[in-house]
């Protein structure tokens, strides 16, 4: 090869080897951490409401239900926050047929080990502020980008009782959901009174291993107000008007009290990781027997308690005057994501534990 040919090839090679400039790319200026890192850390500042926090199985993010003020239909969507706070990474909203003509709410989300999500979907006619009387409820699984309706609600459970709503969803393995079947009532609104009442009536299991989801009721859980899962087939639950947190092994049916908050008040919303239990106790909660509805528990938040199940030691890691709901322990048990009822709106808070 002559030097000239070599030079020519080299010239072409150099010409081809240089890289082109790239077009512009968006630079998104978003917060990378919480607004104020002082514990307890306030993760959200939604002027409307944020509810039902739940951790991703790997602990990298917190899912919760958020009222979208920027949507003209005011849907309640699921949002995913980084575990340490910052900007929402993802919204999951209803986008099916008629979505623009209705108010839709995704709530009570549970994240499974395999990435599958389960949550409830309620829908009401647009024009209502968030549903006074949804005309449609369902239990939905979202896995691999595909949504599947598992249950239409209400339905009659094997116990013969009608589940008008579902709450406290949790995955018990890959193919089973555990939740509280609930009753709902809509007393006529009045000044200072709530317009929607929902209280638990029993704990149910939904087996998804077959072609058709199968509902079963956990015996002896009548009057359950909340449920969470522990190791293996163990569940922890609370009862309406009761200060105890109970543990039940589903296979054997063995039931025991793991902690009794006693005079501190009615216990609900337990969350257990290892030997650590958190629950909401006392506060703005009322249990009474309505002449029409029967036993009713109304919960507007309570005091966040942390219990060491090994020693039975009970502590309050936050200001006892502040009211919280639905605490969720992180997978490593070192943080609690919780719905704070502070002021008119509810937000998601992060409470570090020692």
């Amino acid at each position: 090869m002559s030097a000239r040919i070599g030079s020519a090839i080299l010239a072409v090679g150099l010409l081809a080897a240089c890289a082109h400039d790239a077009p512009f790319r968006p630079r998104v200026d978003r917060p990378q951490g919480p607004y104020d890192p002082t514990p307890p850390v306030r993760l959200t500042r939604n002027p409307l409401g944020d509810r039902f926090p739940a951790w991703l199985a790997d602990g990298t993010g917190i899912l919760y239900s958020t009222d979208r003020a920027d949507r003209f239909d005011h849907d309640r969507c699921l949002a995913l926050l980084p575990a340490a706070g910052g900007a929402i990474e993802r919204y999951i909203c209803y986008q099916g047929g008629g979505s623009d003509d209705s108010v839709d709410a995704f709530e009570s989300v549970a994240a499974g080990m395999n990435g599958a999500l389960a949550f409830t979907h309620a829908s009401a006619f647009i024009g209502f502020s968030w549903p006074i009387a949804p005309y449609f409820r369902s239990l939905v699984r979202l896995a691999d980008g595909a949504a599947q309706v598992l249950l239409d609600v209400p339905y009659v459970a094997p116990s013969g009782r009608t589940h008008q709503a579902l709450s406290h969803l949790a995955w018990l393995g890959a193919d089973t959901l555990v939740y509280v079947g609930a009753q709902v009532a809509y007393p006529r609104p009045c000044a200072g009174c709530v317009d929607t009442l929902q209280w638990g009536i029993e704990i149910a299991l939904l087996d998804l291993s077959g072609a058709v989801p199968v509902v079963s009721v956990v015996p002896g859980t009548g009057g359950a107000s909340a449920v969470t899962v522990g190791a293996g087939d163990t569940i922890y639950y609370t009862l309406n008007g009761d200060s105890r947190v109970l543990r039940r092994a589903l296979a054997s049916g063995d039931t025991a009290t793991v902690h009794d908050f006693g005079a501190a008040g009615i216990a609900r919303d337990p969350s257990v990781r290892g030997r650590r239990l958190v629950a909401v106790v006392g506060g703005a909660v009322a249990f009474y027997v309505d002449t029409v509805l029967g036993p009713v528990q109304v919960d507007n938040g309570g005091v966040l308690h942390v219990v060491d199940l090994s020693t039975g030691g009970d502590s309050v890691p936050v200001n006892p005057a502040d009211l919280y709901r639905r605490p969720a322990l992180s997978p490593d048990g070192k943080h609690v994501a919780v719905e704070g009822v502070l002021g008119r709106a509810t937000d998601i808070w992060l409470v570090p534990l020692p």
Binding site: A16, A22, P23, F24, R27, T44, A87
Partner: protein, 914 residues
Amino acid sequence: MTIRGLVLGVVLAAAARGAYAQTNGAIAGHVRQRDSALPIAGAQVGLDGRWLAQTDSAGFYRIREVRSGWHLVTMRAIGFETMQRDSVLVRAGQVSLVNFTVDVYTIDKPVVIEAFADSILDPALVATVQRISGEELRRFPVTTLEEAVSLSAGAVGESYRGGRLGQQAFVLDGLGVKNQLDASTGPLGVRIPPDILTEASLVTNGFSARYGQALSGLINVVTKDGGDRWSGRAAFESDRLLWGSADLGLDRAVASVDGPLGRSAGVVAVLDAEGRLDADPVSAPRPADPRDPRNDSPVLLPHNSGERYDAAAKLRVSLGGPQTLRLFALRSADQRLLYAPNYKYDEQWAPARRVTGDLLSAHLQRATNNLTADLRTGYFTRAFIRGTLAQQPSYRFGAVTGRAFHFVGEGVARAQDTLAARDPIAGLAPPDWSDRSPWGVPAFFLGAGSNGEIAWNRYRELRSQLDVSVGGPRGDVYFGGELSRQRVRTFQRVLGYLAVGDSVPPPTASDFSPTSAAAYVEAQARGEDFVLTLGLRYDQFDPGTSLPGTRVGARRTINPRFGFSTVLKGATVVVSWGRFSQAPDFQYLVDAAFDDTLRTGRFRRGNPNLGFEDATQYELSVRARPTPSTTLRVNVFNKLLDGLVASVPLGVDPDSTIFAQWDFGNVKGAEVIFDRPLAGGWGVRFAYTLQQATATATDAFQLLRRIRLDPAGDTIDPANVEFPLDYDRRHNLTVIAQGRVPDSAGPRLLRPFVGIEGAAIVRFSSGLPFTMTNATGDTLIGLPNSHRLPSQLAVDVLLRRPVRVGRWQGSVYMDVRNLLNRRNIEAVRRETGQPGVTASQLAAIAEDAYQAHPEPIPYESPRYRPFADTDGNGIVEERGELYPLFLAAARDYLQPLFAYGPPRMFRLGVELVF
């Protein structure tokens, strides 16, 4: 030879006809004795080794139907030495003169052979032809055939003489090729690689009755035959070595080879591939806001890349005697990402497009000097799809992906499954306000999903064409016909993420098989100093019975054409008249669902009963040679348009419209073309056009409404008013200058510049028309298209320096477009007459957006922007914090990007010729 002598020579040679818009020309001349100038009768004249003609008693001969290109002409006569003239250039539709002068007694004495071609003074050439050769294409700063043709007088892009897009026809090696489905809104689908071109020409009037399907012009392309020795070319050009705004992400590679295959065959093959990171660059001003990402990189637009591939091959086989077979194959693919301002920050949802075209043709020719018959068959297919990409492309080299785009819902579209398409199309999600813009606010910018459009169509055509020409002593007769069987399939779906319902129109699909046929006869008679051409063409098309609502039977039209030319005082004067027809785009026969920017409706009802669109053209041309090396042409024309497709109201619903043929118009103008071909190291060409093009509707989708006045209770229905067409460019001047530094001339200091070639194209044109409206856009200010854009100026330059690499010749070159980096305005907003909105409009638009979303933005929202939270309370709220974001977003979104033409663009190239 004097000009008069030349003129007389041309006329008396009674040369072959002006074979307008075809692949062939002719060779004619005389054979005379040197001393006495007496003619030699009975001398034989051959072409490329075949004896084809004999001189008559006056010593004249004529060889007809000579293919465009370089040829060897040989003359022999008893008692004389055989003489040859090599490298005689014949161009399509043109007569080359080759005269032989010999001494009758002594074969040792020198002979004189003159050879030249003259389409200027040849009265047999009736048509108005502007041509560019393959070699010029290489020398000029142009890349594609379309760019080259647009240098012609009367061309505005791909609009010719004010016509609408699609009113032109494309003729490749004598075979008509046309996208009859949507020529007015879409590309042809196949592109001819410039390296396979012998020449291309634009014929704007008076073309032969042999050709139809065109109202405004004919693009005639002649491709190379395989040569008698192997040669080739390889080139690579790019702007990679440059930086900043000079690097627009361009890469282009070309490889071509041609040569003989044995003694009786030849082959040509060309591959031309190009990738551009920004396939439609604009020179829009840099945005002032530093938060706008375009502030740092104002030239390259994201999601605007394009790649195209053109591969062509041709095989010529001599079958013995006068028979020749030519097989041609061409495949083109063009895929584009389409930048959409509303998807600026979520570009993966912006649309994309892919157009492919294939052409296979066979040409069997039997050519003798008295009778030539050409049988051609061509299969042309074109496929188009636009929608949301199923997967974003992965670039391999520059903008080259090397893989075909695939689209969401493509399977449904190709299957034309309108039933399945009533449901939401899998993979499409509804768009939502983007939260990725620097401004965060829910306005203007979209994300999460595309616009949900999927449009697909495919057009196939099998065309057979027979052309026969018979030559006589005082005239020629041409006749022939063609039969074309087509198949049209279309599918359109909008808002595909939603089920069909009240607010979502149903998908549209069609599948029908039209048939077109044509026949023609044309005769040309030559007198002592005139040539008379008469032609008659019959056309018909039948949409077929598979199209719902169509009437039974074909639509037919007969079009006469007439041309008369003579020589007056050294100039050739041509008068021509003709009627021309073309079938309407087949897309107008079926329903159209679309989402146009004018919001004139998203649906047009198809009309399967549409007939031909017509034009009647008158033209007077004067051609002269002011000096032996210069030419001057003046054309004056008047073209009447009738029966053009427009949208007309249907019923009382203001958005209910149907395609109909109520549109008519008129194009008139004059062209002056002065040319000094490259000789003595320089050449120049001026082309000036003065033109006025008006009609009642400027394109088929434009709603043609009559103005109804009701001053006293009665409805007044005034006559339709013609207004300027979209391509009504009044003044257009194109100057092309060429030069070459001589090898030997110049002082020593200039030695490095020896051999450098250069070409510059200067284009100045007055502005195109546009329509102004009031601020709300619902009331016109003045008539449609009664306002004008600013004038445009562009200077393109190509410099080439030959180099030698070993045994190979080559060159390096630099091609610069828009050298002056002039910011040409190509479009304006209708309500302002400017590229952008006014400050008050901007404020109003931002205010509307704010009022739609005044809600506070909390800290955790992906819309939260710390810089906007001026009180630092973790919430962007209230007008004081929110409105500036909406204002900035509006300013960002409304940047008038595509109102501006391309910026200065460079290409650095290396070429090897072997």
